[in-house]
């Protein structure tokens, strides 16, 4: 469908009064939960899944759009005011934002983040509007081997990019892959890794794993290391608005951040770490006030924050058109789609055009609502940071139990919650990245299906996997993404450790 016509149709759905209410509720809930310490965007969406599950799909996804951007913004509020980035994409925002807050410029930092998010989100959504339909068309000529190569690339890049250690990234990915194998094999009907437990025949529930890894793992981790100190909050002095000078210094970083964020986020190997980092470095180079960097430069908030939001919109491109989640947040969105029996991918634009375009239109509306909601209400959100920690984390556990027990009232899910929660704790203590587990769990079974299809068509000839130009290029990229850093690392460490002799 023509994007303009599609979008108009989407707006006609999204602007219905009841749907506007859902968008508003979503934005409000998304921001409120996202602001809470310890809860990043992915977990916000996971915790709110049970709320949306019983709405009709269109209303639910409209609400989702609000939750999505609300949670993103809520996360940056905590980074700026508490210096505690809930996810890797917010790290750069925290760097300068918290310094600004300490100088009593918290309000300006929050404003530039809010407006930057709006600008980036709107441009990103525009990009999504015009980019998604052609890619969805393109996806029709995708052969199974192309999909498989694309997924392989996503696996490898997620494991290599996230976290500090590649080995630990791969271990996280393989744990996810192994969890994804549990259940009845769809092609042959054989039971795999079920260990005789009937509840596992349907496979491992994505929501259970996600909530346990994030919420339970986080609760255990924070409880064990909790200090009785009161959070160092910086009052929102200096008014809500930015000065004229702030505007002048912010608008270019917003645009540049968007330019980094959207295209990189849209790549199957994208994510938000690289664009936010690039944006930060660029702003530091281009600024007229280099001495302020490291002490609260507004460009260092405006750019990365825009890049972060734009990449979030970019991530929706592979998600909606190819069914390929490339971040934890996208993985949980995919799970939400699957809850409704919808499979994101090219067919979604044809079979459920109303829903997809309604969702895209809601992204525009949610973004605008967020801006209207957040500039005046920033002071209110800040109060949420004062909730006493014992009650906050106790509440998080209860909410997690709603999500986990509510799925199927299964005792096995509760046992899984405990086990995966402990896993999440260990992963935090020993610095294993968490997102690869989710990507492996969700993409693993899909990759297997594509691999089988490709081999079935080629009658077992493995060279089919690189038989199309696209699959060959993607495979080569996948190999390079692992080989190049490994070779560089080997080269470097060999040089350094050589004089030490046989110590290792």
């Amino acid at each position: 469908m023509d994007p303009i016509a599609g979008l108009m149709q989407g707006f006609s759905v999204a602007l219905q009064p009841m749907n506007l209410v859902w968008a508003f509720v979503g934005t409000l809930l998304g921001t409120a939960i996202g602001v809470l310490p310890g809860i990043g965007p992915a977990l916000t969406i996971a915790l709110l899944l049970p709320v949306t599950v019983y709405l009709d799909p269109t209303a639910a996804f409209i609400m989702f759009a609000g939750i999505f951007y609300g949670a993103m913004y809520g996360g940056s509020t905590t980074s700026i005011l508490l210096n505690t980035p809930g996810e890797s994409g917010a790290m750069m925002t925290a760097l300068e934002g918290n310094k600004m807050a300490r100088q009593g410029r918290g309000a300006a930092a929050l404003s530039t983040a809010a407006i930057g998010s709006f600008v980036a989100g709107t441009i990103g959504t525009l990009g999504l509007t015009f980019l998604a339909p052609p890619i969805a068309e393109l996806a029709f000529i995708f052969k199974p081997q192309d999909y498989f190569a694309l997924m392989l690339l996503a696996f490898l890049s997620v494991s290599v990019v996230m976290g500090t250690s590649k080995v630990r990234g791969f271990i996280a990915l393989f744990i996810g892959l192994s969890l994804g194998l549990v259940g009845i094999d769809k092609a042959t009907g054989q039971q795999r890794l079920v260990f005789g437990v009937p509840d596992l025949l349907d496979g491992v529930e994505m929501t259970v794993v996600l909530v346990s890894l994030f919420a339970i793992g986080e609760t255990l981790y924070v409880a064990s290391r909790f200090g009785l100190h009161v959070p160092q909050l910086n009052p929102l002095a200096g008014g809500i608005w930015m000065t004229k000078e702030d505007w002048k210094r912010s608008w270019k970083p917003w645009l540049r951040g968007t330019a980094f964020g959207f295209p990189i986020g849209a790549l199957p190997a994208g994510g938000s770490e690289i664009p936010t980092f690039l944006s930060y470095v660029t702003e530091r180079k281009l600024t007229k006030y280099p001495e302020e960097f490291g002490h609260g430069a507004i460009e260092g908030v405006a750019g990365p924050e825009a890049a972060n939001n734009a990449s979030a919109a970019g991530v929706l491109v592979p998600l909606l058109t190819l069914g390929l989640p490339t971040s934890a947040t996208a993985a949980i969105m995919l799970a939400a789609f699957q809850n409704y029996g919808l499979q994101p991918g090219p067919m979604l634009f044809i079979n459920s055009g109303d829903l997809v375009w309604g969702l895209i239109a809601s992204l525009y509306i949610g973004n605008l609502m967020l801006l209207i909601l957040n500039l005046p209400l920033a002071g209110l959100w800040v109060r949420l940071l004062f909730i006493p920690r014992p009650y906050l984390y106790a509440g998080i556990l209860i909410f997690s139990l709603v999500g986990i027990w509510g799925v199927s009232n299964s005792w096995v899910d509760l046992a899984m919650m405990f086990a995966v929660g402990c896993l999440g704790y260990v992963m935090r203590v020993y610095d294993f990245p968490i997102a690869p587990v989710l990507i492996g769990l969700i993409l693993g079974p899909m990759a297997e299906v594509q691999l089988r299809r490709a081999l079935a068509i080629s009658q077992g000839d493995p060279t089919v996997l690189v038989s199309t130009p696209l699959s060959a290029v993607l495979m080569a990229a996948a190999v390079l993404i692992v080989a190049v850093p490994a070779a560089l690392h080997w080269h470097r460490t060999r040089k350094i450790t050589f004089p030490d002799g046989d110590e290792s």
């Binding site: 271990i171 924070v222 027990w405």
Partner: protein, 157 residues
């Protein structure tokens, strides 16, 4: 002193071995799709064993393990095992009580335990707050259509 958590490597390889063992019971190849149900588990299991070995090597070489940062975590990373046990107990409690005692009682218990893990000592207040929060959550999500079970399953309510 470098911490050497070999058990991480053992756990990874051990889980890999379990996956491999279960995969071994399945056909590896298939007439039609050529990839049988067992091939992926074999690959994943083998990968985990291999990664476990690499991790063990890294640990032997003394790779540092830096804890991840989180909100509300004190900087000196003093681990309170008592708090950890209490929080873990809160997460394990549903395993024992969810079926017989239901959502509200279980969540009240969880609430009190987590609050205790976070060094809150106002037991009476925590109990009352936990009960109210659990009851409201149970009622509200019940209204929304989420099946959370009866109020007190043991009494048949």
């Amino acid at each position: 002193m470098t911490e050497r958590p070999y058990w991480l490597a053992a756990g990874t390889a051990g889980w890999g071995a379990i996956v491999l063992w279960k995969a071994h019971e399945l056909p590896q190849f298939d007439q039609y799709a050529h990839i049988g149900p067992g091939l992926m588990p074999t690959a994943v299991g083998a990968g985990l064993v291999l990664l476990g070995l690499i991790l063990a090597l890294q640990i032997r070489r003394g790779v540092p393990f830096e804890e991840q940062g989180a909100e509300d975590v004190n900087d000196n990373h003093v681990v309170s095992h008592k708090a950890l046990t209490l929080a873990a107990a809160a997460c394990a409690l549903p395993l024992l009580t969810m079926k017989p005692l239901g959502f509200v009682v279980t969540c009240t218990g969880c609430f009190v335990l987590v609050a205790a893990a976070f060094k809150s000592r106002r037991w009476g207040l925590n109990l009352a707050l936990g009960a109210v929060v659990s009851l409201v959550t149970w009622w509200l999500f019940g209204k929304l259509g989420v099946q959370l079970g009866g109020l007190l399953p043991a009494l048949g309510v």
